[in-house]
Structure formats: structure tokens, C-alpha cells
């Protein structure tokens, strides 16, 4: 436990935090749950000159739903969302349960994971899958970034150095939406080697709309738009699902690392998309 020396700021208001961040810019990192940042500091993979700790900033832990949109303050812990979602949105609860262990989710924040942009993380993929948006503030302005515009590469986002994500917004699935989430990790609680989230609404025997988000299989979380298009209006059959999964995997350009080859990630993504879609179609009613 030995980070490089850094200045530590623990502002009490968002304005104070934004002032420090505005002054230090690229030299500063924002600390929320610390579940990714602190290991990186300890391994000295990150050596920011200043840390801006948001944990004492009041008013950032709100969780509210209005007009079918879930609004989460920057400090809402993953575990708090998981508890809420257990009754209100089982998809979100199922996704969260794949994140590390309960102790990690107790501390880790939703906005922290969304903005950390680990391509193998579950929440950025869910954010993309649910067409979320991040409300972002700097000293000068407030703006909203759509999930599909947020991710630029591994651990890289459209956020400027002086900006903080103050809220994330999630369009909750409409009633009757079927969902599925599957991932493979080496051990319980590890980052996914690859994973897939699917949402399906049906119109009778046909798929009305399908959304597929894949993580761990490219530099950012991805929507399988080709497969989604192929599914829209198609009959909800096993063959349709298998073909959609094939399409989704064919578009992937994953990397190899010590845990899995690129070839593996493509093959496993196909399996997982297929399983997530099958679950989603089944939950959407009507069966296969």
C-alpha cells in the first residue's frame, strides 16, 4: 500500500471540488468508491498529483425515478442500487451481482464504474444497453453526455479533465421487457472475460425491439447493432436467436490477454449473447 505522494483534497461542496479540479485539471483524479483508483495508485499505475475526494460532498447520493428514468447521484453505491433494484428492476440487480463481491459493491459507486470505463466492467455495458446519459459538470458549464458517446477507449471517456459526473440517468426498461445477462469470469467476482446483456420486447410471436450490449470484447462496451436490426420484427425462434448471436460475435474485434484469446472472446460472446437473448425472449413472454 504505497501510492506515489499526492495532494489530498476533501471538499464539502461540489463547487469546491470543481474549483480544485479546474485548477489542477489533468494532474488530478476524482475519488469516489476507490475500488479501481486505489489499487491503481498502490501499484503506481496511476500517479496523479492531486486526489479530489467526493465522499464528503453532500447531496450526491440521491436515487430517484421520474418519468421512467432512474436518476443516480454520483455517490450512490453499487450495493444501494442493487438493493433498490432487487424489487424494482431485476435486470439491474442481476447485473450488479456480477460485480466483484458484496464488500466491493458496498464501497464502489455506480458513477465511478460508469466513468472509469473499464471495457470488461458490467455497469458501462448496462449504461450503453439502457441508453443512459451522464450529467457532467465543470466550473464553467453543465452538459449531458449520452452513453454511446461517453466511451472512447479502454479507461478513456469523453469527459474533460475538469469535469465530474454528478449524476447518471438510466432509462428503465418498459414493463414486459424481457432481459438476460450472462458473463464468464475466471473466478467468482473477477472481471468478465466477456459478457452480454440483452433486452427484448415482443409483439406477439415477433421481436419488437432488441438491445444487446457486450463487454470484455473490445476497447469499449459495445451495442451489437447489426444483430439488433436483424432481430427487430423477426419471429422469436431459436434459429433467429442463434443467427443474431452469430452476427453479434462476427462484428467483434477483441484483444488477447493472459486470460483469454481474441478467438475465445468471439466464441464465448456468441454463446453468451445467445443465452442472454434466449432468457430475454423467454422473459418477454410467449416462450420460444
Amino acid at each position: 500500500v504505497k501510492p506515489a505522494p499526492f495532494e489530498y483534497h476533501d471538499p464539502r461542496t461540489l463547487d469546491e471540488a470543481l474549483t480544485v479540479l479546474g485548477a489542477r485539471g489533468d494532474d488530478a483524479k476524482v475519488l469516489a468508491g476507490g475500488q479501481s483508483l486505489l489499487p491503481m495508485l498502490n501499484l503506481r499505475l496511476a500517479r496523479p498529483a492531486a486526489i479530489v475526494d467526493l465522499n464528503r460532498v453532500a447531496g450526491l447520493d440521491g436515487l430517484a425515478v421520474s418519468g421512467g428514468v432512474l436518476h443516480l447521484g454520483a455517490l450512490v453505491r453499487q450495493r444501494a442500487l442493487e438493493r433498490w433494484a432487487a424489487t424494482e428492476c431485476p435486470l439491474i440487480a442481476a447485473v450488479l451481482r456480477f460485480i466483484g463481491h458484496a464488500a466491493i459493491r458496498n464501497r464502489g459507486t455506480v458513477a465511478g464504474s460508469v466513468s472509469h470505463a473499464d471495457p470488461a466492467a458490467e455497469l458501462p455495458a448496462l449504461f450503453v444497453g439502457l441508453d443512459g446519459a451522464a450529467v457532467v459538470r465543470s466550473h464553467a458549464r453543465t452538459r449531458e453526455i449520452a452513453a454511446h458517446e461517453l466511451y472512447r477507449g479502454p479507461l478513456m471517456t469523453a469527459l474533460e479533465a475538469d469535469e465530474i459526473v454528478v449524476e447518471t440517468r438510466w432509462s428503465l426498461p418498459a414493463p414486459g421487457t424481457g432481459w438476460g445477462v450472462h458473463e464468464v469470469s475466471r473466478r467468482h467476482g473477477d472481471f468478465a472475460l466477456v459478457g452480454a446483456i440483452a433486452l427484448v420486447t415482443r409483439a406477439g410471436d415477433a421481436v419488437d425491439r432488441a438491445r444487446i450490449a457486450i463487454f470484455g470484447a473490445g476497447p469499449t462496451p459495445l451495442r451489437a447493432s447489426g444483430a439488433e436490426k436483424a432481430l427487430a420484427g423477426a419471429r422469436a425462434t431459436r434459429d433467429t436467436i442463434v443467427e443474431a448471436a452469430r452476427l453479434a460475435a462476427a462484428d467483434l474485434e477483441p484483444d488477447s490477454d493472459i486470460h483469454a484469446s481474441a478467438r475465445y472472446r468471439r466464441m464465448a460472446a456468441r454463446t453468451l449473447v445467445e443465452r442472454a437473448l434466449a432468457d430475454a425472449v423467454a422473459l418477454a413472454g410467449g416462450g420460444l
Binding site: K2, L43, V184, R186, R187, H188, G189, Y264
Partner: protein, 645 residues
């Protein structure tokens, strides 16, 4: 690693003129003739990756120089405090009595802490130079880069067999990766060779061994020390042979395991200690049957085909080993009874979590006749016992245990003589039970043990009944190693869509001689199995082609947790060793030896319809799914090859 052994390879130590640090061939019987007589030959190449002990507590050294008496005390998380003391006498030019090395209760050793390290000397040298206490603690990254690595072998193995599965001969070309230096001489290469045949009745063997230096952290013996690798090669080859001949893997072992009535079984070659390699006791076929029964092997085989029809790919795998344990030559132990009648046991054997404090207290309490809680065990403090060796090579129960029993016996004999004088009875009539000393048949004569010690102290009125130092030291010499053995059975389920292997069940039927404490024995087996599961499915100390370590954190180097481990059933078979008075055998390493072979055999069995052959570990999902995909591409449609009824 194999490329490094070639003549044209760039040299790591140019002055050697080769990267091959150890090379030898060894043969027993007539291999050429056996291969000529064989009905079938099985040849395959197996790869065992580099994986390591990874104690939860990293290494650490504290040193204090006392300038008043010119002595050094150092606390060192080592498994071998007396070896560290010997090293320091040279490094510091001090006599042994000026150097006290204390190995406190370690947070895991596994062999990683049995090596000598630069910090063992550098921290004391710094304390001397600075004339103040110096402390150094390794962090996890330093540990992963700098502390000893282990494993990493390649076996190009051939079995010659008859049609009925009788194995006539084994030929094996073996490469070991030593890392940058050969720290341990022939220990790893020779262990590998001496354990290749294991429980099989194979009278002809030819091995060609090359231990190669590479640009990696030096390797050292880690729990099993060459045995998991060699057992992987042999047991994988036996399974492949069984499949080739259409014989069930359990049946081929029945036909080849050495029977109990063939023991003692002489290999006709020396063990690493120079003594003849002769199995002393055990019953390998009984262990096989016990393990198969506990695993429900026959039921599994009945159920397997219908599960496959439902797309559930389950497999079962067997691995057996015979392990030379408790290499000598001795361990030191001092036992004393103090003024309160309580017992102190001091030994050179360091405890690193395996419960010496309990097991050794049992040995002393039983030998003396006092309650267990009266005994305090001190391990690894050079000030408490003059000569010692340390804890490694599954040796402490045998070497320290028997020294403790010997020393306790000597102390008891003296206590009996003193009590005889005190109680005015013949020594042969003195009983010591539950800490009370009495004359046989006269319960009213009972006095506490403390009274005997107290009565031995001279008073103004009279001399004591004996000299009051009830203390003895023993260095029990073992004739050679004693052979522990086991059969492991693993049951797995493979997700053929993702390559994920789930370990459903694990059974160990083992013989460690006389069991001192069944709970500790089970704990040792479980811990060993967990590390073996790590080698089978998760752990790899990966390097890239440039020699850069790729697994430098515990996010990259995956140690299994309780979440990854199945229920482990242990069957104890007790075949006392005739080679020591307690009849015990070594246990520490055994659990870690067979899991890679048993699990790999189970995975190949699960995937038999695809015709997959498993030749390397760890069996992470990527490797497994690629095996399936390669097999599918080769044959387009899966068919049942080697599937058993």
C-alpha cells in the same frame, strides 16, 4: 524454455557455455526390449506451467544488533531458521551463539520461504552498520517478482503396453525451467524422476533430463517439488493409453498398481538421499478402490451417457501418487518440564500454519502422560534447540515428531527415577497419568508432576531427589524417506459453450501412516488440494517472449478462493511406516500433487465425445473452449470416441 536448451540459444551465463544447468539420463530395466515387446505405444508431450506457492503473508525480516554483548537477533519469515543462522555466521563473521534466528508463526511457507534470500543477510548487515533495529517487509508485487517461483516442466513421454493395458516401460524426455539460476542443484530434476513411476508396476524406465536456465525468477521446490509435474505427465499418459486401448481409466490402474503384497517394493535405483528407493508400506489398490467408492465412480459412469444426451458434459478423473516424504537426516527437539510441571517442546521445525503447536503437543503429552494444554511448542528459534533443519519436504511430523517422542521419553525416564525416590517405590511401579504421578495400585500416593520437579531442587536440609533439569534433546535419525501415497478423484462439469470448468466434487483416499490428528490431516489435505486446483485451473506465472512478467498482481495471477473449491472428501488409510517409532509419514505436500492430473483427466473425460486431448494446464475457459473448437474443426461432427459404457 526448450529452445534455451538448444546449442544455438543465446547464453544466460556465457561462462557456462550452455543453458543446461543439469543434464542426466537414468535407466532401470531394459526399455528397448520392453518397447520391442509392446503391443501398443502411447506418445504425448505434456506442459506444466510455472505456478507458485503464494503465501498470504509475504516475506519479512527484522534485525536487532545488541552492542552490549555483540549479538544479533533476527526475526525472519523463513521455514529454515537454522540454515539462516548458518548463513549469517559466514555473512557476519560471528559464531552461532551470537546469532539468534527466530522464525515466528509464518503466514504460509509452501517451500517459497525455504530458499535463502539476499534480505536474510542484508537486513542484519544494515542493522549492524546502522547500530539500530532494521525492518523489511516485502509487498505483494515484490513477492511476485522476487520470491521463488516454481513448477514449469515439459515431458515428452512414451508408454509401452500390452493389449490388456499392462504397462511395460516408460520413456520420458523431461525439460525443467529453473529460472535464472540453479539454486537447488538436482533436487527438482531428481525428485521429478524418482516420482515418475509412482504406484505403477513399471520395471523399465529411461529418462533424459535437462534443467534449463531462463530469464525468469529462479525456481525452488514448492509443495510437491517436481511431483505434481511428473504425476501429471504419467497419469495423463496412462489415461491416454486407456483411451487408445478402450479400457476404463480405473481398470487400467487396477491392472498396473503395485499390490500391497509386493511391498516393500524395490525400484532398483537410489532416492535423492542416496539410499535405495524402496516403498515401505501402503496399499495403492485399496486407496484406488476407496477413492472410487467415495466418488461414486460406478454410478457416475452409468449416468454419464444420459447426461451427455442432455448436453451436460461431466467427467471424472483419477490420479495416484507415491511420495517420498520426510527427507532426513534429522530434526532437533528439546523437551523440558519446568517447576510447575508444564512442558516446553522446542524444535527446529518451523510452523507455517500446519498446526505443529497441536500435533507436537499431542506427541509430547501422550509420551509423558500430561494434559495436552500443559505443553507449549516453540518452533524455529535457534536459541531453544542447538541444531535443526527446518520445515519442508513433508518432513516435520516424521523428523521432529520422532525427536520429540525420543526426548520426551528421556525426560520421562528421569522423572520416573526421581518420583521413585520421592515416593519410595521401584521405578517400574511409577505411573504418570494426566499430570499426576503415583505408585501403581496406590492411588492415594498421587502427587502432581510439579511436586517431583520441586522435590529435585536442593534445600538447606537436603539435596534434591534428582538434579532438577528435566530436559533432554534428541536428533532422531531417519534411515531414509518414508512413502506416503494417495489416489485422488475429481469430478467436473464443462460448459461447452464457454469452456468454463466447474469442479463438482473431489475425493482423496490417502495414507500418511499413523494419523496424529485427523482434523489437522484433513486441513493439510484440503490446503494442498486447493493449491493443486490452482495449478489445474487458474494459476500461471506468465511471462511474455521478452521475459516480462505478465502476472504481477493477484488480479492477473489467480489463486482459487473458497468460492472455487468443491466439497473435498477425505478417506484416511493408515499404513504405519516401519521406518520410525511413531509410524508416521509426511503429509504436507501430498494434497497438491494429484489435482492437476486428476482434473485434467476429468476434463478430457467430460469432453470425450469431442475427441479432445488435454496436454497443458491451467485449464482456463479460453484453453478449454479452444480445444473443443479445434476438435470440432477437425472432425466437423462430434462423435463418441473412447466413450465408455
Amino acid at each position: 524454455m526448450r529452445a534455451g536448451a538448444e546449442a544455438e540459444a543465446p547464453l544466460l551465463h556465457p561462462e557456462w557455455g550452455t543453458n543446461v544447468a543439469v543434464a542426466f539420463t537414468h535407466a532401470i530395466g531394459d526399455v528397448e526390449e520392453a518397447f520391442r515387446q509392446a503391443d501398443t505405444v502411447l506418445g504425448e508431450t505434456f506442459h506444466i506451467q510455472r505456478y507458485v506457492g503464494m503465501p498470504i503473508e509475504p516475506r519479512g525480516v527484522v534485525a536487532v544488533w545488541d552492542r552490549r554483548d555483540g549479538s544479533l537477533t533476527t526475526w525472519n519469515s523463513t521455514q529454515v531458521s537454522h540454515f539462516v543462522q548458518q548463513g549469517l555466521t559466514v555473512a557476519l563473521d560471528l559464531p552461532p551463539h551470537k546469532i539468534r534466528v527466530i522464525a515466528p508463526d509464518l503466514g504460509g511457507g509452501f517451500g517459497t520461504k525455504a530458499s535463502g534470500y539476499a534480505e536474510d543477510a542484508l537486513v542484519p548487515i544494515a542493522a549492524l552498520a546502522l547500530r539500530r533495529p532494521v525492518k523489511w517487509i516485502e509487498d505483494r508485487r515484490e513477492h511476485m517478482m522476487g520470491a521463488a517461483h516454481a513448477r514449469h516442466q515439459v515431458h515428452q513421454i512414451e508408454l509401452a503396453a500390452k493389449r490388456d493395458g499392462t504397462i511395460l516401460a516408460v520413456r520420458d524426455r523431461i525439460w525443467l525451467d529453473l529460472g535464472a539460476y540453479n539454486v537447488w542443484g538436482v533436487v527438482l530434476p531428481y525428485n521429478t524422476v524418482a516420482h515418475l513411476i509412482g504406484p505403477h508396476r513399471i520395471r523399465n524406465m529411461h529418462v533424459d533430463v535437462k534443467a534449463v536456465v531462463t530469464n525468469k525468477t529462479p525456481n525452488a521446490p514448492y509443495r510437491g517439488a517436481g511431483r505434481p509435474e511428473t504425476v501429471f505427465a504419467m497419469d495423463r499418459a496412462v489415461d491416454c493409453l486407456a483411451r487408445q486401448l478402450g479400457i476404463d481409466p480405473a481398470e487400467i490402474r487396477r491392472r498396473n498398481y503395485i499390490r500391497a503384497d509386493e511391498l516393500p517394493y524395490d525400484f532398483g535405483m537410489p532416492y535423492r538421499d542416496g539410499n535405495p528407493l524402496v516403498y515401505d508400506s501402503g496399499d495403492f489398490p485399496a486407496a484406488l478402490e476407496a477413492a472410487l467408492a467415495a466418488a461414486g465412480y460406478d454410478d457416475f459412469r452409468c449416468e454419464q451417457p444420459s447426461l451427455r444426451e442432455r448436453g451436460i458434459y461431466r467427467g471424472i478423473g483419477i490420479s495416484g501418487y507415491v511420495e517420498g516424504t520426510a527427507i532426513g537426516p534429522f530434526e532437533g527437539a528439546t523437551v523440558k518440564v519446568d517447576l510447575s510441571g508444564r512442558v516446553i517442546v522446542a524444535t527446529g521445525a518451523v510452523s507455517s500454519g500446519q498446526g505443529h503447536e497441536t500435533s507436537f503437543a499431542q506427541v509430547a503429552a501422550d509420551a509423558l502422560g500430561v494434559p495436552l494444554e500443559w505443553v507449549t511448542v516453540v518452533g524455529g528459534d535457534t536459541a531453544t534447540v542447538p541444531f535443526g533443519v527446518g520445515t519442508f519436504a513433508s518432513r516435520s511430523a516424521v523428523t521432529a515428531g520422532n525427536s520429540i517422542a525420543d526426548a520426551t521419553g528421556a525426560v520421562k525416564a528421569k522423572l520416573v527415577r526421581a518420583a521413585a525416590t520421592l515416593l519410595e517405590a521401584a521405578p517400574e511401579d511409577i505411573l504418570i497419568e494426566e499430570g499426576q504421578v503415583s505408585v501403581r495400585g496406590v492411588p492415594a500416593s498421587a502427587v502432581p508432576l510439579a511436586k517431583v520437579v520441586q522435590a529435585s531442587i536442593p534445600t538447606y536440609a537436603k539435596p534434591g531427589v534428582a538434579s532438577p533439569d528435566f530436559e533432554a534433546t534428541s536428533y532422531h535419525h531417519v534411515p531414509t524417506v518414508t512413502y506416503a501415497s494417495a489416489v485422488h478423484v475429481a469430478e467436473v462439469e464443462v460448459d461447452v459453450g464457454t469452456g468454463h470448468v466447474r469442479l463438482r466434487r473431489y475425493v482423496v483416499a490417502h495414507d500418511c501412516g499413523k494419523v496424529i490428528n485427523p482434523i489437522i490431516v484433513e486441513g493439510q489435505v484440503h490446503g494442498g488440494v486447493a493449491q493443486g486446483v490452482g495449478g489445474a485451473l487458474y494459476e500461471e506465472m506468465a511471462y511474455d517472449d521478452e521475459g516480462q512478467l505478465l502476472a504481477g498482481t493477484l488480479m492477473d495471477y489467480l489463486v482459487p478462493t473458497s468460492m472455487e473449491l468443491p466439497r473435498i472428501d477425505t478417506v484416511h488409510l493408515e499404513f504405519p511406516s516401519p521406518r520410525n517409532p511413531l509410524g508416521v509419514k509426511g503429509l504436507g505436500e501430498g494434497g497438491a500433487i494429484s489435482p492437476p492430473a486428476a482434473i485434467a483427466n476429468a476434463v478430457e473425460d467430460a469432453l470425450a465425445p469431442f475427441g479432445v486431448r488435454v496436454t497443458a494446464t491451467p485449464l482456463g475457459p479460453s484453453r478449454v473452449l479452444e480445444l473443443i473448437a479445434d476438435a470440432r474443426e477437425e472432425r466437423v461432427t462430434p462423435r463418441s470416441r473412447g466413450e465408455r459404457a
